[in-house]
């Protein structure tokens, strides 16, 4: 398979993730969009590692996964906490920063 296929797939995944983040209100879904974008990046990292024939990209992908896992832990905790106080997981309800 050519490099282009991988790149296009990664771009499609990233676009889906970004669209999800921008368009969906439910925090959980938004979170999933974020994860999707991270994974499209991982795909690119791995692709280029293979393409260049070294392991740097693969190692970096592992790092991204670890960070993503940590981020999910914190993020889900926040979402749960918000849901408990507001009975809603909509990101548009959480707009207290607006004066």
């Amino acid at each position: 398979m050519s490099l282009t296929n991988y790149l296009v797939l990664a771009a499609i995944l990233f676009a889906i993730g970004a669209t999800t983040v921008l368009l969906r209100r439910n925090a959980i879904i938004v979170f999933m969009g974020v994860e999707l974008m991270l994974n499209s990046t991982n795909l690119l990292l791995v692709t280029f590692a293979r393409y260049h024939g070294n392991l740097t990209g693969q190692v970096l992908a592992f790092f991204v996964m670890v960070v993503a896992a940590a981020e999910v832990v914190v993020g889900l905790a926040i979402i749960v906490s918000i849901f408990r106080t507001r009975r809603s997981a909509s990101v548009d309800d959480v707009n207290l920063l607006k004066s």
């Binding site: 983040v21 921008l22 990101v91 959480v94 207290l96 920063l97 607006k98 004066s99």
Partner: protein, 659 residues
């Protein structure tokens, strides 16, 4: 401290401009104590506060008297030296050392300075004694004596300084003391305003002195009398004229000369002893001192000298005319002071021929005018602080000592033989008739004005005297409603008056006989005798004749005639004179109102330009913030969108640039 330490070092510098004094005289160092003693006394009285209330006034008297004793000692020592060595410079070490400008603090002990020192300390001590009784019922008597001592110290520093800069320190010191004492009863708003007026008018004069010092430094590179006076020969006449005019401005401010005279009348708000000491005998004559001290400069700048004489002549008439219409006894005396100082300034403007007589008249005037002020204080003391002469009358029978001492002062200022004024004022009139630089018109103009002034002086002083002591009683009730019962003042007040009256009678004859003019020669230079345009007996006769006319006129109007209690409307001239010849109106129109307008427009400009710039900047910031705030809507998704758009835009730009 430095002053005290340097007393032990034996170095006495003797350097004089025109008189060479090769032998330094150690005794001159004592002059330091003249300034130190009253200064320390003033500090003690001010710092101890109420703890010194019980004995503070006596400390003040003692300090002044001690200064007088030292002055007497120094003068006797000076008299023991040959005339050529009577100018002694005492160095007190370097004071200012700033790059090109180096000023040594030093005193110049010479006949001119010692004449002033003796006058200030002698009259000062008498007035201190008088004040003990006069201020007896004042809760702040100690503070009053502290200020008086401060004044004496500053005045002595002024006349003893050997550089214009140190003189300036004393000059400001007496200005401060004058301000504090005019406003001594400053709970009374008009008094506080009068103090402020005197202070401001004096500051205008000070600008002249500062200007003169700047010019001197630029021209001579130094400010001490010796260097400046020695350098005059090399300087251009234009510069010297400027310096002379600047010094004259300073003298006008301090000595209440035209056009800066308006403060002196209001300065009478101060307690009467202050009027006697500061605003009659000593401080207001500092301007004459400055001009005489700078005689070398004026000798090389004839234009400036002519202006001095003109200012003196104008003021002598001005003061005399104002004096004719004033009903307040102290203000009438103030106008007279102004006029008499006008005589001195006129004499100083005549050049070396007049310097000695200016100082001579200054000394005799110091005695008789202080005596009359103390007399006025005594009258006020006995008449429940009444100052309106239309409310006096016939007081001579009730206050015998005041009457007789005042009469001595009155005859002295009239210039009646053999009273003090005859020996000094008539000499000035004679000197005014001497043609200067071979221009006879000056002799006729100045001589004529001086002669006319003598006649008017006789009229207004006789008016004052007759209104107060002769004629019918026109007394008003006391402030508490009871009837007036004038009484003689206590001994502490009458004794100084008697001493000053003795001076008013005999001082002129005494000093004239003792060679006062020759005594001053080491300081003011020798003047060749010139013949006046009229024979001397004619001048003396004319003067005495005019004086007689003035007295008779005043006698008929104010002693024999009926004097209305309420001032009549009077002629245009009377009304103008009552208002100080509209000097305040002119000042208001020419200086105060434009000044106010200027400040108002400055305030407006400040608000319109500066303030608006500042507030506008703030308002713009707020506006921008307000606009930008709308982007921060609190929706996480819109933030994410802006991040994404930004990122995409950045990428596009980077690609395009690399492209």
């Amino acid at each position: 401290m430095h002053t005290l330490m340097s007393l032990t070092t034996p170095a006495v510098v003797a350097a004089v401009d025109d008189v060479v004094a090769p032998v330094a005289w150690e005794g001159a160092r004592l002059a330091v104590w003249l300034v130190v003693v009253p200064l320390v006394s003033a500090a003690v009285l001010l710092l101890l506060g109420r703890r010194a209330d019980r004995w503070g006034h006596w400390l003040g008297v003692l300090a002044s008297a001690a200064s007088f004793v030292v002055a007497l000692g120094v003068t006797v020592g000076l008299l023991g030296l040959p005339a050529a060595q009577r100018v002694q410079d005492v160095s007190l070490g370097t004071w200012v050392d700033a790059g090109a400008l180096t000023v040594d603090a030093g005193l110049r002990v010479d006949p001119l300075a010692m004449t002033f020192v003796l006058l200030v300390t002698f009259v000062g001590t008498l007035i201190h004694v008088y004040s003990v009784a006069y201020m007896e019922h004042d809760a702040a008597r100690r503070r009053f004596f502290a200020y008086l001592n401060l004044f004496v110290a500053a005045m002595l520093l002024l006349v003893l300084a050997d550089s214009y800069l140190l003189l300036f320190v004393g000059w400001e010191g007496v200005g401060l003391a004058s301000y504090l004492l005019i406003g001594f009863w400053n709970h009374n708003t008009p008094y506080a305003v009068a103090a402020k007026k005197a202070f401001v008018a004096n500051r205008v004069g000070d600008v002249g002195l500062v200007l003169a010092m700047g010019l001197m430094f630029a021209t001579f590179g130094s400010l001490d009398f010796g260097t400046v006076h020695a350098g005059v020969a090399q300087a251009s006449e234009g510069t010297l004229t400027l310096i002379g005019l600047a010094l004259l401005l300073a003298a006008c401010g301090k000595s209440a000369q035209f056009p800066l005279q308006s403060w002196l009348g209001d300065a009478m708000a101060g307690p009467t002893p202050v009027s006697a000491l500061i605003h009659a005998a000593t401080m207001v004559t500092a301007g004459v001192y400055l001009i005489v001290r700078s005689g070398v400069i004026y000798a090389a700048a004839p234009t400036a000298q002519l202006v001095v004489a003109v200012v003196g002549a104008i003021t002598l008439l001005f003061g005399a005319i104002v004096g004719c219409a004033k009903d307040d006894i102290k203000k009438a005396l103030a106008a007279s002071t102004m006029s008499q100082i006008g005589y001195m300034v006129l004499a100083a403007g005549l050049g070396p021929v007049g310097y000695a007589f200016a100082i001579f008249h200054l000394v005799t005037h110091g005695f008789f005018k202080a005596g009359m002020f103390l007399g006025a204080g005594s009258v006020m003391h006995g008449m429940d602080d009444q100052v309106d002469m239309r409310r006096f009358g016939g007081l001579g029978r009730y206050m015998k000592i005041t009457y007789v001492t005042f009469m001595a002062g009155w005859l002295a200022i009239l210039g009646v033989f053999p009273f003090a004024g005859f020996w000094s004022k008539d000499k000035i009139i004679e000197a005014a008739f001497v043609p200067v630089d071979g221009e006879p018109w000056r002799a006729w103009v100045f001589g004529g004005i001086a002669l006319l002034g003598a006649g008017i002086t006789a009229f207004y002083m006789s008016r004052l005297f007759f209104l107060t002591f002769e004629g019918q009683k026109r007394w008003s009730a006391r402030r508490d409603g009871s009837a007036q019962h004038p009484h003689e003042s206590p001994l502490l007040m009458t004794v100084p008056m008697i001493v000053l009256a003795v001076g008013s009678v005999g001082l002129g004859w005494l000093l004239s006989g003792a060679g006062f003019v020759e005594w001053l020669e080491p300081s003011v230079g020798h003047a060749e005798h010139h013949e006046p345009v009229l024979p001397v007996p004619v001048i003396v006769g004319a003067t005495l004749g005019l004086v007689l006319v003035g007295v008779v006129l005043a006698w008929r109007m104010y002693a024999v005639g009926q004097v209305p209690v309420a001032p009549p409307r009077g002629t245009v001239a009377t009304r103008a004179a009552r208002k100080d010849l509209y000097q305040d109106v002119v000042n208001d129109a020419v200086l105060v109102e434009p000044g106010r307008y200027l400040t108002r427009s400055l305030v407006y400009g400040d608000k319109a330009v500066v303030d608006n710039t500042a507030t506008g900047l703030g308002r713009a910031t707020v506006g921008v913030g307000d606009a930008v705030r709308r982007v921060q809507n609190g929706y996480a998704r819109s933030y994410a969108a802006s991040m994404l758009i930004g990122l995409v835009a950045l990428t596009v730009v980077v690609l395009a640039v690399r492209g």
